[in-house]
């Protein structure tokens, strides 16, 4: 927590709690900008921490072939239709593509990014529609889904 600057935010909030007990509204207002700043710092630290972690993870997974990518989409679509929870690990192949770390699969990165977003907010219906769109693009682009490895 200390490494992520959470202690700074925590200490400000403790002071605010004490001020609330004393009904000291003026001082609370003065502290609000500090809360936002500490909160922003924490957010930045946290994002940097998670992106470093994710990049390491993404580096570690093998790149998908076009056929494997199609299978991933089919499996995701089935899970979304069943309202199954999709773990972040299952989204890693897609994140790898979004981050341009896989050159074997040709896909609309923006659409893929949107798909990951929709899955993460549990908007399953939209996610399934996006998968359908990607699959259509894939079949138009390649004609046949051959294993290109």
């Amino acid at each position: 927590a200390a490494n992520l600057s959470a202690l700074k935010l925590q200490s400000i909030l403790v002071r605010i709690e004490a001020m609330v007990s004393d009904n000291n509204l003026v001082s609370i207002n003065e502290l609000i900008p500090e809360v936002w700043q500490a909160s922003e710092e924490l957010k930045q630290c946290f994002m940097q921490y998670t992106s470093e972690k994710n990049e390491k993870k993404l580096d570690a997974i093998p790149a998908l072939t076009q056929t494997e990518f199609c299978h991933v989409l089919i499996q995701l679509s089935e899970k979304l239709k069943r309202n199954d929870f999709i773990d972040q690990d299952e989204l890693m192949p897609l994140n790898q593509l979004v981050n341009n770390m896989n050159t074997q699969v040709i896909v609309d990165k923006e659409l893929l990014k949107l798909l990951v977003e929709k899955i993460n907010i549990f908007d399953n219906e939209s996610a399934v529609n996006i998968i359908d769109k990607i699959e259509n693009q894939q079949s138009i682009g390649s004609g046949v889904m051959n294993d290109d490895r």
Binding site: N120, I121, F122, D123
Partner: protein, 292 residues
């Protein structure tokens, strides 16, 4: 698809959903819903969740309303744990009075959530097992007499209300005592087990196939009149005569009674089918008799 118990997490905040799912995903199969409406839809479709973690403050339909709806309808056997920021006693009391089994306040402690969920899942699975045992015959795995009587009464009430036919078959293995005396009881059990498999396989999902007693079986055929029931019984009789369960040739006597609409209850139909079995035995066994 999976041997893991299924947990449905319902919260309008995706981040809360992600947190709860991350805590439980290694042990359970997780389903997710971000609204009360979706929760009801998922809870009523197969495979049903074994437990629901339900947020209270949600737009459109709050957790209390979802809980009431589930407890009044098809989801009444699914345990519900409220996971909520509402931390006063009144809210907790209300949630528990609506039928929730537990109440967890946010911010959550992963260890506590895991422990409480584990406890309630274990209780749910034990209750399911007890229900299964209470409804099924231990030897053959098909429904038992207790279940038959309960379910038949409902089916007969529905048939009477909608004026559609329903027939009852009573099936008795001929000379079963001689099989037990000659080959031993374990062989007799084997005969009943193999027969049950065939009876189950030969009937529709909406029919009830039950072991009524020793070597007596009852089949309740929904939307089926006596004529169709007789055809069906003849077919069953022939199949069983060729089955040779446990390497033993068997025959069966079958009695049929169709519900006289508006006049009869289950016991009446059962009695008539039973008399028809006696008639079939008197007629030389290995035959079908229909009461009119």
């Amino acid at each position: 698809m999976t041997d893991k118990a299924t947990i449905l997490i319902v919260d309008d905040s995706p981040s809360n959903l992600q947190i709860l799912a991350a805590i439980l995903k290694d042990t359970y199969h997780i389903k997710a819903a971000t609204s009360g409406k979706d929760c009801l839809k998922i809870a009523c479709s197969d495979p049903r969740p074994d437990l629901i973690l339900l947020d209270i403050e949600m737009p459109d339909m709050n957790g209390y309303e979802v809980c009431s709806e589930l407890k009044d309808n098809i989801g009444k056997s699914i345990p519900i744990i409220f996971v909520t920021g509402k931390d006063n006693d009144g809210d907790e009391e209300m949630g528990l009075n609506l039928g929730a089994v537990d109440y967890i306040t946010k911010p959550i402690s992963p260890a506590i959530v895991r422990a409480r969920v584990n406890t309630h899942i274990e209780l749910k699975l034990q209750r399911d097992a007890l229900e299964r045992m209470a409804m099924h015959d231990q030897l053959t795995g098909i429904y038992n007499r207790h279940y038959l009587i309960e379910a038949a009464q409902q089916k007969i009430a529905r048939a009477t209300r909608h004026k559609h036919p329903i027939s009852l078959l009573m099936l008795d293995v001929d000379h079963f005592k001689a099989i037990n005396d000659t080959y031993g009881h374990s062989k007799g059990d084997e005969v009943l087990q193999e027969m049950s498999k065939v009876l189950k396989a030969q009937n529709r999902a909406e029919d009830i196939v039950a072991r009524f007693g020793g070597e007596e079986f009852v089949i309740l055929l929904d939307q089926c009149d006596a004529v169709s029931a007789e055809d069906k019984s003849e077919k069953l009789r022939k199949i069983l005569a060729e089955l040779n369960p446990g390497g033993i040739k068997i025959t069966v006597s079958i009695g049929i009674a169709e519900l006289k609409s508006g006049e009869e209850c289950f016991d009446d139909v059962l009695k008539r089918a039973d008399l028809a079995v006696y008639q079939a035995k008197d007629n030389g066994r290995n035959c079908v008799v229909v009461t009119r």
